[in-house]
Symmetry: C2
Subunit: 225 residues, 2 copies
Amino acid sequence: LIQIKNLSKIYHLGGVDVHALDRVDLEIKQNEYLAVMGPSGSGKSTLMNIIGCLDVLSEGSYVLNGKNVSGLDGDQLAEIRNKEIGFIFQTFNLLPRANALHNVELPLIYNGTGRLERKEKAEEALRKVGLADRAGHRPNELSGGQRQRVAIARALINNPSIVLADEPTGNLDSKTGAEIMRLLDDLHRSGNTIILVTHEEEIARHSERIIRLLDGQIISDEQIN
Amino acid sequence: LIQIKNLSKIYHLGGVDVHALDRVDLEIKQNEYLAVMGPSGSGKSTLMNIIGCLDVLSEGSYVLNGKNVSGLDGDQLAEIRNKEIGFIFQTFNLLPRANALHNVELPLIYNGTGRLERKEKAEEALRKVGLADRAGHRPNELSGGQRQRVAIARALINNPSIVLADEPTGNLDSKTGAEIMRLLDDLHRSGNTIILVTHEEEIARHSERIIRLLDGQIISDEQIN
Ligand SMILES: Nc1ncnc2c1ncn2[C@@H]1O[C@H](COP(=O)(O)OP(=O)(O)OP(=O)(O)O)[C@@H](O)[C@H]1O
Ligand SMILES: Nc1ncnc2c1ncn2[C@@H]1O[C@H](COP(=O)(O)OP(=O)(O)OP(=O)(O)O)[C@@H](O)[C@H]1O
Ligand SMILES: [Mg+2]
Ligand SMILES: [Mg+2]
């Protein structure tokens, strides 16, 4: 499904080169459940952004579903992002002037879903993350963990085949975090591919494979369970 | 130091009343080390914002250092926030167009510290959170955990007598999180008052007292250690 070879991401900032990712080799099969761990600044979000077609690599290659991603244009990338990938951002990235329901509806607006069906699906998605009674709140009228759950509901609403979850439980208490992990585990059982960034070992243990990054490099890649 | 009596925070949203805080009674002495826990949406950040003079209560009273906070004007509140309180926000709240060094300098600009001394103190503050080599990066050129650490450095730079830390390790791996907790523990030993919101029990165990919220109410208040 995903083939990454010799991938580097290099930022040039005032004369210094920052290797956010450094010659990464990675293969991910369909329906894998993968966790990515590593210290703050080690390149986890950068890797997710490149896999999610939100950022471009500096060197190396990324083949997704048989297509070389570097060869695709803006429209093709947008279509992949909308149809095949659900992204739960580390910093949520919600529209500040839209309420929770509208934020969750967004992916369905992009793929042309009718208004009535959109509203029903968005309400259901909010119910699944325990926020049915917050549908009308805007992000600044929500707690940190509630914003995170809106971001989760939005990412999952299209039932995307690849779910990229960047620290999905970082702002959640353990009970709410467990409910979110149940959602991701269910998706995995239904055939979706789950790639999860976390710095919590217990969350990582939901996966079948743990990759550890350090200074932009993969330093270990282990099957678990 | 802090006396909160019968404090409520009520939002009126389209005909529904949301009790973010509900008749909270709380006394905090100087040099206490307090942890606040509770599920997502239970009122932790709301409580911190009111203690930090960033938000106003709807009912009840809040006395800080002998002064009734509801009786203070905007300038007096701003002075308290700058001189006595260091706030580590759950969502960081960094200036997007300023680099890390400048973000950390801000509290020193507000209290009139000279340019050279500011720069030295800001560099030292960044060094303490492991970000000396990221001083020139802007927030969107930093990882999630690096932004969190810039927010921490900024909050602590004035050596404020009260530190309000809203989930300071939420985006950090355990090693980096431990370094941040060492900073907070050191501050406590030097006499500062630390109020820490966290949903991680091990982080809460650094404190001497744990308060648990549920639906805006305090449901337990225990001394530990
Ligand atoms: N401006 C607002 N208008 C209406 N409701 C609000 C507003 N701000 C917060 N709330 C509600 O108040 C409640 C408490 O929010 P708060 O941010 O204090 O929770 P929290 O305990 O910090 O949660 P988390 O652990 O998710 O950060 C939440 O249910 C939230 O939806
Ligand atoms: N636009 C940029 N310009 C320069 N450096 C950048 C930029 N974006 C990210 N970086 C650097 O790239 C490195 C990797 O960042 P990344 O966000 O992938 O880390 P991370 O592993 O997700 O960290 P965290 O656990 O803190 O979220 C960091 O050291 C960061 O400072
Ligand atoms: Mg990250
Ligand atoms: Mg909060």
